[in-house]
Structure formats: structure tokens, C-alpha cells
């Protein structure tokens, strides 16, 4: 019983009389002020969201991207499997038929006319990514931007589909 302790951090409480130095309080206060002053000049641990980016692991799941193929055509065929797989019900889409002359825009006969992900609902689990049969939707190492209204967090195709001339690299995630 006497020396048994699970945490090894046990401290005996004592009600001993305080010494004169302790009763003055001022030395203890000065020591404390030394501690806070020390922290005052320490490097701050804060990462400013949206400006700084902390180091991510290669499998980090951040903002989604809708991929295009090598010829710049959208991969998504609006099958809706991602929306079904989504546990947070964050994804909605409207399908449309590809018209003659649009073959350079969409890879298959059906495509998503609108494709919206609500970033406030999304839990970034990556189920959409694994559900997708066309390798169209992936999660990336990017962060969702800061915004003011809830409406601004519903990302449409304008924010989700990658640009033809600036592709988003997702190869890192494929190795894990």
C-alpha cells in the first residue's frame, strides 16, 4: 500500500505550516512571472488556417477534386454511387446526356450537369473516393477555404473540377 502507485505521479498532500518566505507570496509570484515571461518569447505553436499549412501525411484526406482524363475530359458519369456511399449525405448531383459535339468535354455519354458537395456536412471519410467506379472523385491534401456564409461552403463544379491546364496531383494517395 505504502509505495504502490499506478502513475508514479503520486504526491503526498501536507498541511505543514508555510515558511516565512512562502507566506510572503512575492517570491512565488515573481517565479510565476518568470515562467510567463519565458512563454512570452517562445515560438508560437499556432498554424493560421488558410495561410499556413502544417505538414500532412501522404494519405491526408482534404478538399475533393473531380478528375479529368489525359485528354481533358471529365471522368464523372453521374452514376450517383458517391452520393449513396456518403455517410453524411453531403453530395448531390444532377445527370445530363452528352450531346453530339461535346465528346471533348465528357468521357462518356452521361455526365454530371451539377455536382455539389456541402463542405460543412462532409466528414472527409473518403467513402466517395472508394465508391467511385470511374476514378472521378478523389480527396486531396488541399484545405477547404475559410468563408462567411453557409451557402459559400456548398462547392459546385466550378470549385471541384480540376482545370485542364493545372492538374491536381493525387498520385501520392495511390501508394497507400
Amino acid at each position: 500500500m505504502a509505495e504502490y502507485s499506478l502513475s508514479n505521479r503520486k504526491v503526498l498532500v501536507s498541511n505543514k505550516e508555510m515558511t516565512f518566505k512562502e507566506r510572503l507570496y512575492l517570491p512565488a509570484i515573481l517565479t510565476g512571472m518568470g515562467v510567463t515571461l519565458n512563454h512570452f518569447f517562445k515560438k508560437k505553436v499556432t498554424y493560421i488556417y488558410g495561410e499556413d499549412k502544417r505538414e500532412f501525411s501522404p494519405v491526408y484526406r482534404g478538399l475533393h477534386v473531380l478528375k479529368r482524363d489525359e485528354e481533358g475530359r471529365e471522368n464523372c458519369t453521374a452514376c450517383g454511387l458517391c452520393a449513396v456511399a456518403c455517410p453524411a449525405e453531403a453530395i448531390t448531383m444532377v445527370a445530363a446526356e452528352r450531346l453530339p459535339g461535346e465528346e471533348h468535354l465528357y468521357r462518356e455519354e452521361k455526365y454530371a450537369a451539377t455536382y455539389e458537395i456541402n463542405m460543412l456536412r462532409c466528414i472527409f471519410c473518403g467513402m466517395c473516393e472508394s465508391a467511385c467506379p470511374k476514378q472521378a472523385v478523389y480527396l486531396t491534401d488541399r484545405l477547404v477555404d475559410v468563408d462567411i456564409t453557409r451557402q459559400d461552403f456548398i462547392y459546385g463544379k466550378d470549385k471541384l473540377v480540376e482545370k485542364v491546364d493545372e492538374r491536381i496531383d493525387i498520385t501520392n494517395r495511390q501508394h497507400y
Partner: protein, 348 residues
């Protein structure tokens, strides 16, 4: 040249002092948040302007836009005047502080002090004791038990700590032999601007500093507004700019207290080497450097107020009363006796 010139001169001076006091009080709120953040390894406000320096404006605007709520059962008249009263007494103190040695414009000597009354210290003590009225009336008029508790705590605390404060000033008076702020500062000009009163009155300084913390309701003596027990203390029922005035008066009080501490114990506008500088540089330049020196000392004490606040927890109420009546009052009396003995020995 006559009463008219004097009136214009004083009006300009008072306006400048008023503006500077308000500006420093406003930026103390920003400083407080930054100091708090830095001591907790955080960054603090940084959204409004570069490094967040527009934060006080944003806060002020927010305060003004809020709904101004008055409780149904409150005493309307007293409820409305209390924040103003609180602000008024905090600002009144700055009237007797000499901000610098006189400057000379067109051969006319202008004292950088709103008024040099020969009982400056008495004036300070009386105005500081008026400060309790804003808090007390505000708490009582709210008709809210938490506010009343806060007001009771505030008034008993302020009255208790005025006693050792006054006693520590008596010891200072024995050394200086005058109550005029201007003369107290001039006396500290010896040894090329280094003969500060802190050398003669170290114990008195510590007592005065502790009492200044209590008078400004700052941690560790911030029981009147302790959030954990009293919701908000005496300003529980206040909202909008009335609340802003209460909070603002605390920072004004802090600035003025810091200025008084610097003036009484740390040489006021004197800085090391001031007399040698008067011989090589123009009079006005050195005088303005003195104003700068006083400002630096004042800002250091404002920082000290914040530093202490973010270091130590607040006292329990009985500990506060014990400290005031059983420690500080006897210590102040011992200090008076010691000072009297030494003054007697030296003058013999």
C-alpha cells in the same frame, strides 16, 4: 497675453491629454489580448488590419451596434449615469500628472500639466475614492443579485485598499515634503535625473503597487467581476456601449495608475542624463524626450498589470481582506515609522 491665452493653452493641453488617454486605453485592450495570447503560446487577434491593429475599432463598433438593454426593474436614472461616472473619475485623475517639463513657444513657458495644484496627492486620493461610486451605483441600480454582490465586493475592496495606499503615500510625503506633483518630480531630477523616489521608498512602492492593482480591480484582485461566481459582477446587466464604458474605464484606470506610479516613484519625466542633454540640445527637444520617457515608464507598468493578470489566479475574498487589513496596513505603518526615524536622523 492674459486669461484668454491661458484658457486656449489649457484647452489644447487638456484635449491632447484626453485624446492620448483614450487612445492608450483603447490600445490597452488590444495589448491585453496580445499579451494574454503570447503568454499562452498563441498569436492573438490578427484579422483586423496588419497584426490586428484595427481590433480596438472593430470592438468599439461591435459594442455600439449591440442592443442597449435596460432591465425592467432597474433604477433607470442611476443605471444610465453609472458607466459615465465610472469613466469620469478614471479620467479626472490625469489632470494633475505632469507629463513633461515646460516647453517654450515664442518666449512663453507652457507647463505640460493640466493643473498644478499644491495638494495634488490629496486630490488623487479623493478622486480615486470617488471611483467606487460608478461601480457601486451600477451594481445597485441593476436590481440583480449578482451585480449587487459584485458591487459590494468592489466597494469594500476599494475602501479597504485606499487605507494602505494613503499610508504609503504619507511615507512618501515625509521624504519629499510636498504634495505638489510638479515639485515631487522636480526633486527626482538630482544625480542627473536618476534620484528617483523608489530608492528612498522601496517598501512604500510595493504597497502602493499592490493597492493600485486593487483600486483598478485587476487580477489578483478582480473579485468584483469574477466570471466564475458572479456571472459578470457589477456589470452583469449592462450591454452595448454602457458595458463598453465600464470595461474601458478599467483600462483608463490602469493607464492613469501606471502614470501615477511612474511619476511618484520612478522619476516622472526625468531620465538618466537629462541634465547633460539640456546643455547640448534645445530645451523643447529634451522636454519632449522627457514626455517620451514618462510614456515608456507608463507603458511598462501597463504591461506589468497585464503580466500579473495572466500569471496568477485571483484571491479568495477573505484572503483579500486579510491581506489588506492584516498585512498591508501594519506594513505601511512600519514603513512610516522607519521613514520618520531615518528622516529625523539624516536631518539632524
Amino acid at each position: 497675453m492674459g486669461i484668454g491665452a491661458l484658457l486656449i493653452e489649457k484647452t489644447i493641453l487638456v484635449t491632447i491629454i484626453f485624446a492620448i488617454t483614450l487612445a492608450i486605453a483603447a490600445y490597452s485592450t488590444y495589448g491585453e489580448r496580445k499579451v494574454a495570447a503570447f503568454m499562452q503560446d498563441r498569436i492573438g487577434p490578427n484579422r483586423a488590419g496588419p497584426y490586428g491593429i484595427m481590433q480596438p475599432m472593430a470592438d468599439g463598433l461591435k459594442m455600439l451596434m449591440k442592443e442597449d438593454f435596460v432591465p425592467e426593474q432597474a433604477n433607470k436614472f442611476l443605471f444610465h449615469i453609472a458607466p459615465g461616472l465610472s469613466m469620469l473619475t478614471a479620467l479626472m485623475v490625469s489632470a494633475v500628472i505632469p507629463w513633461g517639463k515646460s516647453i517654450i513657444i515664442n518666449g512663453r513657458e507652457i507647463a505640460l500639466q493640466a493643473t498644478d495644484i499644491n495638494i495634488g496627492i490629496l486630490y488623487i486620493l479623493s478622486v480615486v475614492s470617488l471611483g467606487v461610486y460608478g461601480v457601486m451605483i451600477g451594481g445597485w441600480a441593476s436590481n440583480n443579485k449578482f451585480a449587487l454582490m459584485g458591487a459590494l465586493r468592489a466597494s469594500s475592496q476599494m475602501i479597504s485598499y485606499e487605507l494602505p495606499m494613503g499610508l504609503s503615500l504619507i511615507a512618501l510625503l515625509m521624504v519629499t515634503g510636498t504634495m505638489s506633483f510638479n515639485e515631487i518630480v522636480s526633486q527626482q531630477n538630482g544625480w542627473n535625473g536618476m534620484q528617483w523616489n523608489i530608492i528612498y521608498q522601496p517598501i512604500g512602492f510595493v504597497i502602493f503597487l499592490i493597492c493600485a492593482f486593487a483600486e483598478a480591480n485587476r487580477t489578483p484582485f478582480d473579485l468584483p467581476e469574477c466570471e466564475a461566481e458572479l456571472v459578470g459582477g457589477y456589470h452583469t446587466e449592462y450591454s452595448s456601449m454602457k458595458l463598453g464604458f465600464f470595461l474601458f474605464s478599467e483600462y483608463t484606470h490602469m493607464f492613469v495608475s501606471s502614470a501615477i506610479i511612474s511619476t511618484l516613484y520612478f522619476g516622472g519625466y526625468n531620465f538618466p542624463g537629462i541634465n547633460s542633454l539640456y546643455e547640448i540640445l534645445p530645451h523643447n527637444v529634451v522636454a519632449l524626450m522627457g514626455v517620451g520617457a514618462l510614456m515608456i515608464k507608463t507603458l511598462f507598468f501597463i504591461f506589468l498589470f497585464m503580466w500579473v493578470r495572466w500569471t496568477i489566479p485571483r484571491f479568495r475574498y477573505d484572503q483579500l481582506m486579510n491581506l489588506g487589513w492584516k498585512r498591508l496596513v501594519p506594513l505601511a505603518i512600519v514603513n512610516i515609522i522607519l521613514t520618520a526615524g531615518i528622516v529625523l536622523l539624516v536631518n539632524k
